[in-house]
């Protein structure tokens, strides 16, 4: 099943390495070109669900300026899921690309 966009962005962000909550919010915004701003409620609902599904796992915590930061990391299962999603999206994008190329009058690289 296709991943929802916030989930995809979180997994993609964690593919680079472990991150804490706020770093994920910032990275998701950057990955989406500023289009997606994850709310804190949305982020932690997704993190909780992904932990339960075993796609990510907590990976240590630290206190910075009196604030608790828990780090999350991608699991093997999560990496596989992200890879499947990338393959699916790539395949879909390829088909779209082919059909658009065949469309007369549209210059598509």
């Amino acid at each position: 099943m296709a991943l929802q966009e916030p989930t995809f962005l979180i997994l993609t962000s964690l593919a680079q390495g472990r991150k804490h909550g706020y770093a994920l919010i910032k990275d998701a915004a950057e990955l989406s070109g500023g289009r997606v701003t994850l709310r804190v409620g949305t982020l932690y609902a997704a993190l909780d669900r992904l932990c339960t599904e075993g796609l990510i796992a907590a990976s240590g915590e630290e206190i910075v300026d009196g604030r608790l930061r828990r780090f999350y990391d991608l699991t093997e299962e999560g990496a596989a899921s992200l890879s499947d999603e990338v393959t699916r999206m790539r395949s879909l994008a390829s088909k779209a690309h082919t059909r658009l190329s065949e469309r007369p009058g549209l210059a598509f690289a």
Binding site: H20, G21, Y22, I25, R39, V40, G41, T42, L43, Y44, A45, D48, E61, V64, R67, L68, R69, R70
Partner: protein, 468 residues
């Protein structure tokens, strides 16, 4: 930390809070520092709170049971008969009883399920257990309250509402007491039984109580008279009420004790057994005042042999029979002189006025259209105005005039028959308080009374019932 953020986090389930609360707070502060000048905006805290509410709700059977309760309340309110709704608030509230009656077993089952889950969680500490109990049941309470309000609105929209000075909110207290009893039953059973059994046992036990809500007559009668009379009426009419109340108190106390001291749960079967035994052992008995009214035979009545025939109970006959008969004969003559539509005293005509309440043949209750319950305790001064009242009511043909004028005609007729004005109002004695309740009359003096009676005779002569 702002109240909004604190509330948003508190709305989440306990397990979530233990795991994520500090971390989420830190992340919220990071977001606030970088984008909102250090203040956590509502655009973050409100969605967080809503999500917490949803997380808490969907993990609780109370949430789903609450939806069922709302459906029952609204469904019944939308279909209950409002044809005879009199427009008073109390009547509107009574129409909600049907939905509540069906909801109680659902409430009990959900409370039982929650109680069983709380027991299995083996939480340490009374405060924590109470907190758990509250967390498990609040969606149910909230949904019930919302459903109750919507049901009232639905009934009002369907049947209308007007202000009448008879509404008593006692019925609301009674309804919510029943809801709490349902909760208590569920929690109690949940504390000792497995969940699989609780969801059957709790509704079955609660259905026993729910029957009270369907006897809307009880609530209707207690409504105008206030709290004391309400309690007295319920005790009097419903023979099981004392047992219900005792059982309710025992159950509520047991739930509290078991919640605070789980060890005592071992004694709960004894308490349950005691309640069941008391429920089984108590036999329904006719309420005290009904015994006097219902079980007397008409054959006991002592009737005079001369016109007008007046029938009295033996004790009334002994106390004031002769003087009353003389008074009635005089009034009868006055009525004839004035042209009031009474039976003419004379050979062959028999006018019977039984001066007491008599059971109605259909339902064994007193026939209120004759002389009502209160006459049992009346003396001679009360009987003459009631005679006038009966006289006018016996000859009435609906719907010539309204109740107010009917009452006024009775009053006026009483005055013309020689009854002192202060005693001329039709009255009934409240069987519980002994208080005399008089029907209001708009007749200021004797002249007005004569005019009223004259007009009534002129307009209503065609409605006069022929002598029996």
């Amino acid at each position: 930390m702002s109240i909004a953020v604190r509330t948003a986090i508190r709305l989440h389930p306990l397990a979530w809070r233990k795991r994520y609360a500090d971390e989420v707070l830190g992340t919220l502060q990071d977001v606030a520092d970088d984008h909102h000048g250090g203040r956590i905006p509502l655009t973050e805290s409100v969605p967080l709170g809503i999500r917490g509410l949803w997380l808490r709700a969907r993990s609780s059977i109370s949430f789903w049971a609450g939806l069922v309760v709302v459906g029952l309340l609204i469904g019944c309110a939308a279909t209950v008969d409002v044809e005879y709704l009199d427009g008073s608030l109390i009547d509107v509230l009574l129409r909600v009883n049907t939905g509540l009656g069906y909801s109680l077993p659902v409430l009990a089952a959900a409370a039982g399920w929650a109680g069983a889950r709380a027991r299995r969680a083996q939480i340490v500490g009374a405060r924590e257990r109470l907190r758990q109990l509250g967390a498990e049941t609040w969606p149910l309470v909230a949904f019930t309250a919302v459903g109750y309000i919507i049901a009232v609105v639905v009934v009002v929209v369907r049947g209308g509402l007007m202000w009448m000075p008879v509404a008593s909110l006692f019925i609301v207290l009674a309804q919510w007491a029943m809801i709490l009893v349902a909760f208590a039953i569920g929690q109690l059973l949940g504390a000792v039984l497995p969940r699989v059994l609780v969801i059957f046992a709790a509704p079955a036990a609660t259905w026993f109580f729910a029957g009270l809500l369907f006897t809307s007559q009880t609530a209707w009668n207690i409504a105008p008279q206030g709290f004391y009379r309400g309690i007295a009426f319920v005790f009097d009419v419903e023979p099981y009420t004392r047992v219900y109340l005792i059982a309710g108190i025992v159950i509520a106390a047991s739930v509290l004790v078991v919640t605070v001291r789980p060890f005592w749960a071992k004694l709960l079967p004894v308490a349950v057994l005691a309640v069941v035994c008391s429920l089984v052992s108590v036999q329904p008995a006719p309420p005290p005042y009904q015994v006097a009214a219902v079980e007397r035979s008409r054959a006991e009545l002592v009737c005079s042999s001369i016109e007008p025939v007046v029938c009295l109970w033996p004790e009334q006959e002994a106390a004031f029979g002769p003087s009353l008969r003389a008074q009635m004969a005089e009034a009868y003559a006055v009525a004839g002189t004035l042209g009031l539509p009474v039976d003419s005293p004379g050979p062959g005509s028999v006018a019977r006025y039984a001066m007491t309440g008599l059971p109605h043949p259909d339902d064994n209750w007193e026939n209120a259209s004759e002389l009502g319950l209160g006459t049992v305790g009346f003396g001679p001064d009360d009987l003459l105005p009631l005679y006038a009242y009966t006289m006018t009511s016996c000859c009435w043909q609906e719907p010539t005039v309204g109740d107010g004028e009917y009452s006024a005609v009775s009053y006026a007729a009483s005055i013309l028959l020689g009854v002192p004005p202060e005693r001329a109002l039709p009255a009934v004695v409240d069987p519980y308080t002994g208080q005399r309740n008089f029907e209001p009359s708009g007749v200021p003096d004797r002249k007005a009374a004569q005019t009223l009676v004259h007009d009534w005779l002129t307009d209503g002569v065609n409605g006069v019932r022929p002598p029996d």
